[in-house]
Symmetry: C2
Subunit: 128 residues, 2 copies
């Protein structure tokens, strides 16, 4: 619910959200399937419950089981993480941050194409 502090999400929470975003709504077992069957069922269930308290997800009951659903949009979370990344490490300099990403990672030509397309399109929007 709270848009603040969205960057504090842990790895498991992130993976759970990922799963829920994919399925739209899913039961504990399904989430656990995505998130890693190495984890105990109760671990996933507990995390889900904690996340519900924090307002990250919600559930409806369907017979015996809980069907969960994310209440935060992927965009919000992405934005939170991006803020942290860009603001903390690059003083808010987005271009610098992206430049660094490109430099320190393997990028294939296709990606470059796609990026140029995005930039191009962006320019259109701006000039309008």
């Amino acid at each position: 619910m709270q848009t603040n502090s969205l960057h504090r999400l842990g790895d498991l929470q992130l993976r759970i959200l990922q799963s829920l975003w994919k399925h739209h709504h899913a039961g504990v077992a399904q989430v656990r399937q995505d998130v890693g069957i190495n984890l105990a069922y109760t671990t996933v269930a507990t995390m889900l419950r904690k996340m519900e308290i924090k307002g990250l997800v919600e559930h409806q009951q369907q017979g015996r089981r809980f069907i969960y659903q994310a209440t935060v949009q992927k965009d919000q979370v992405t934005h939170g993480l991006a803020d942290r990344f860009v603001d903390h490490l690059f003083q808010g300099n987005l271009a610098g941050a992206i430049g660094h990403l490109l430099e320190t990672r393997v990028v294939d030509p296709n990606d470059l194409d796609r990026l140029e397309a995005i930039i191009h399109q962006h320019r259109q929007t701006l000039s309008k």
Copy 2:
């Protein structure tokens, strides 16, 4: 020291590292200056000590005081955070991640120019 789990750094730790990267080496008081004088001196000192145990920083003694220095490079931390961002949220799709960044943030034309330059340069490197 450990390259793993570098993405788990908290906000304060990130700000401390930022300060150390800037100054190269700095005493507690200096770091505290950067990080926020609203924090108690001991808070910063304690955090620094904890970070030393984790191998993120090290210190040399200079007379009475400790002069700290980061032992992790900014690149490593950036990479760690970027991994989390790109891998968790975009399944490793870097272009997708960057695209999203561009879409959800305010970008001024200058940034677009710089990005295009970077992409261009990158293409050179790749084709070589």
